[in-house]
């Protein structure tokens, strides 16, 4: 079946611009997670959704980062006024409750 998909696969943007990253989870998966994979920081948790609500936003690095999920399905991670330190691979994962998380291929963001 279809796995988790993310778009775009690569995004190059200029410092100061806003970007939107999209995640399509596996159908029926109620939980959705965003992580960031960067050279200096490894894999970091950003935010978690259960349905359309986000009980845990503790990993968002600043108020420039926000995320939403609609219809219990697609999620969008938005980064406003991008900075060079935002360059990373952004990973999305979905799961049924606390079971195995299935990861997407990631979006590689480069801020120039």
């Amino acid at each position: 079946g279809a796995g988790v998909s993310q778009s775009p696969s690569n995004k190059v943007t200029e410092k100061g611009k806003d970007v939107e990253l999209r995640c399509d989870p596996i159908s029926g998966h109620t939980a959705l997670y965003w992580y960031r994979q960067s050279l200096g920081q490894g894999l970091e948790f950003l935010i978690y959704f259960q349905g359309n609500s986000a009980p845990d936003k503790s990993g968002l690095p600043s108020d420039r980062f926000s995320a939403e999920r609609t219809g219990g399905s697609v999620s969008t991670l938005t980064i406003q006024r991008t900075q060079q330190e935002d360059s990373a691979v952004y990973l999305c994962a979905s799961s049924i409750q606390n079971y195995e998380q299935y990861f997407g291929p990631g979006t590689r963001l480069t801020v120039t």
Partner: protein, 110 residues
């Protein structure tokens, strides 16, 4: 503080040799622990979780609460085991979010 430490960035062994990837954690409670693996040009995927006590692809990991460790072991490494390995902790009742270690790159040479 909740933290996962993988002390080795790179581990290089020869085919057929035993391999042990180290993982230590810091957590004030009973953690749920995992090993995830990322093969070249593939997605991050679950290798094993401690509660299932399985052996996957010949790998095993035992939770040692006294030493707060969850080392990953395989008696005879294969070239196809070359990958990036991440140890992860899921805190109790926090929605299943994962706290990852920095990862260890395993290189198995022929």
């Amino acid at each position: 503080a909740q933290r996962v430490t993988q002390p080795e960035k790179l581990l290089s062994v020869f085919k057929g040799a035993p391999v042990e990837l180290k993982c230590n954690y810091s957590y004030s409670g009973s953690p749920e622990l995992f090993w995830y693996v990322q093969y070249s040009r593939q997605r991050l995927q679950l290798l094993l979780r401690h509660i299932s006590r399985e052996s996957i692809k010949g790998f095993t990991a035992d939770l040692n609460k006294g030493e707060t460790s969850f080392h990953l072991k395989k008696p005879f490494a294969q070239e196809e085991d070359s990958a990036m390995y991440y140890c992860a902790l899921s805190p109790f009742n926090q929605g299943g979010k994962l706290i990852f270690g920095q990862g260890t790159e395993l290189s198995v040479k022929p």
